[in-house]
Symmetry: C2
Subunit: 136 residues, 2 copies
């Protein structure tokens, strides 16, 4: 299969396939014209990569997992350790997003009926400057 075919089969962009190839996750064979040809094993591997990504593993995580599994070791202990870390980070970012969302909503509703003003020497936009989120 060529790059577009494998990309279409797994419903990702050809550029993504090229990216995973570039960083060594996929190792296609090269034909006479320089085109890269992917084999069924590459499809399996790519499917694994996408599953891992959708579970929140980073590309570096996957690199570690692939390396571990290539060493005749079961990568599962690695996977367990990594997902614990990633989950913690995700919880934190989720919380941060939650707070950002609240701040944005609050600002919008506060600005709803506030008139606009021209900037002065000390103020650029009173809507932003008047919002006290930073101080709290």
């Amino acid at each position: 299969m060529r790059v577009k075919q494998i990309a279409d089969a797994l419903e990702i962009s050809a550029d993504s396939v090229r990216y995973y190839t570039r960083i060594g996750f996929l190792v296609p064979s090269k034909s006479h014209n320089g085109y890269k040809y992917y084999r069924p094993a590459d499809v399996t591997r790519l499917r694994f990569i996408l599953s891992a990504r959708s579970l929140g593993f980073s590309v570096n995580d996957i690199k570690e997992i692939l390396f571990t599994s290539s060493q005749t070791n079961a990568p599962c202990p690695t996977v367990r350790r990594l997902i614990e870390q990633r989950l913690k980070e995700t919880e934190q970012r989720y919380q941060d997003m939650h707070e950002l969302r609240l701040r944005m909503r609050k600002a919008m509703s506060e600005w709803e009926n506030t008139p606009d003003q021209h900037p002065t020497a000390d103020t650029i936009c009173h809507l932003i400057e008047g919002f006290t989120a930073l101080k709290s």
Copy 2:
């Protein structure tokens, strides 16, 4: 003020100040030794930038706002338009994070008492491959 002083005053890293300077948000004067010196107006400006960032505006948004305000126009209409867009995106990313978080938790609890296995020809890590998130 030199870079570290202004950074400490606003509780950000000196590298961030350098970054904002590099992209033209701050325009310090240069002394004989090549050091950059910031004036009170820069503090005001930087404080504005940080407020905007904390409200979810991107650096590009801020660029647009600063440009608008430099044109004797009130940037507030721009600000209103931008925050509406950013809020929409934030809601979407919040939702995405929510779902990722659920998938991760589900995977963790499913894997809780699952034994590890050595990888075979068709499987790299059964924990990830067995997780059906992609199909749903």
